[in-house]
């Protein structure tokens, strides 16, 4: 997957720009979408609790991989939504939107056989990929940081609520 900074900055840019037109998307909702963008990265929990430990407990083969898929985003977003005391429908929508944006971005990555990872699980196991970038390419991060900085400045001084 692309690194987490690019994932969250993409959602920051999309939601902030959308907020210039849509009154319902205010500053408080942007971090919810950004948190949603981090859901596929929860796959990294495997560094803390190895899959083999869970396989031992469950008694059957297990993989964390679905967390970084459409099915995983929908389920985990549902769980996170239950941690909120208010506006749960909007929280869920933004968490899912953020998570899906990360999955779409990851679906554009390079795969040597021309098919992306299992990001559309359980609907489509390996859709094609346009092979646009590799995750370690710093140019992707630079573009994300520059876009985020531009939108932050435009939001602060031109379009944002401060005006």
């Amino acid at each position: 997957m692309a690194e987490l900074l690019t994932h969250v900055l993409l959602v920051y840019v999309l939601l902030t720009v959308a907020g210039w037109r849509i009154d319902a998307i205010t500053d408080r909702w942007v971090p919810i979408g950004m948190a949603g963008a981090a859901i596929p990265d929860l796959l990294k929990v495997e560094r803390l609790v190895d899959e083999r430990i869970l396989e031992g407990l469950l008694g059957v083969p297990f993989s964390y991989a679905p967390i970084s898929s459409l099915g995983g985003v929908l389920v985990v977003a549902g769980g996170l939504t239950l941690c909120f005391t208010e506006s749960r429908r909007r929280v869920f929508g933004l968490l899912v939107a953020g998570g899906v944006s990360s999955l779409v971005l990851d679906g554009l990555r390079m795969y040597a056989d021309g098919h992306a990872g299992f990001w559309l699980y359980p609907l489509w196991w390996r859709p094609p990929t346009p092979n646009l970038y590799v995750t370690s390419d710093p140019r992707v991060t630079v573009v994300a940081v520059l876009a985020g900085a531009c939108v932050f400045l435009l939001d602060r001084y031109v379009f944002g609520t401060a005006q």
């Binding site: 690194e3 500053d27 059957v60 389920v75 005391t85 370690s136």
Partner: protein, 157 residues
């Protein structure tokens, strides 16, 4: 919604994640059209001539012969393979994807190689930048939201 009901829902979500993980693993090989690292580790010779797609960590690079030595993670430990036809620049510690044909003596003839991490340091870059992303989300979130200890959940500040 009562906190106990929400807690029940969260437990249910945890069980769903476990269920998906089991379903995914049980169906992985059916939906992966190539011999996996595990399959090669178990019975390499029976897959000679097959097309495969593997992910590996680079151990050594021979630029003269355009080959790299990689280790592929399998359930039984790392599987060493020699990949031929690698023109890209990559250092030991880097990570590659190899799409090619299984050849005898733990050799792969690569049709296409994608260098995912040019060197081991690429991983440090990815994790470092990701940590910045995680901190950004946490800071922005807690500027607008707080944990309500009475209602046991997040609410707007």
């Amino acid at each position: 919604m009562r906190p106990s009901l929400r807690l029940f829902g969260i437990v249910l979500v945890g069980l769903l994640v476990l269920g998906m993980g089991v379903h995914y693993d049980a169906n992985y090989e059916t939906n992966w059209p190539y011999p996996t690292g595990d399959a090669l580790e178990t019975d390499y010779e029976s897959h000679v001539g097959d097309r495969t797609f593997l992910f590996g960590t680079v151990q050594a690079v021979d630029r003269e012969n355009a080959t790299v030595e990689i280790l592929v993670e399998t359930g039984r430990g790392p599987l060493p393979l020699t990949v031929g036809g690698v023109e890209q620049s990559v250092e030991p510690g880097g990570a590659v994807q190899v799409y090619g044909t299984v050849e005898p003596d733990h050799h792969l003839a690569a049709d296409r190689v994608v260098v995912v991490n040019p060197a081991g340091s690429s991983l440090v870059f990815k994790y470092g930048v990701s940590l910045v992303g995680a901190l950004l989300v946490v800071v922005l979130f807690f500027r607008r939201w707080r944990f309500d200890t009475d209602g046991l959940g997040f609410e707007v500040r």
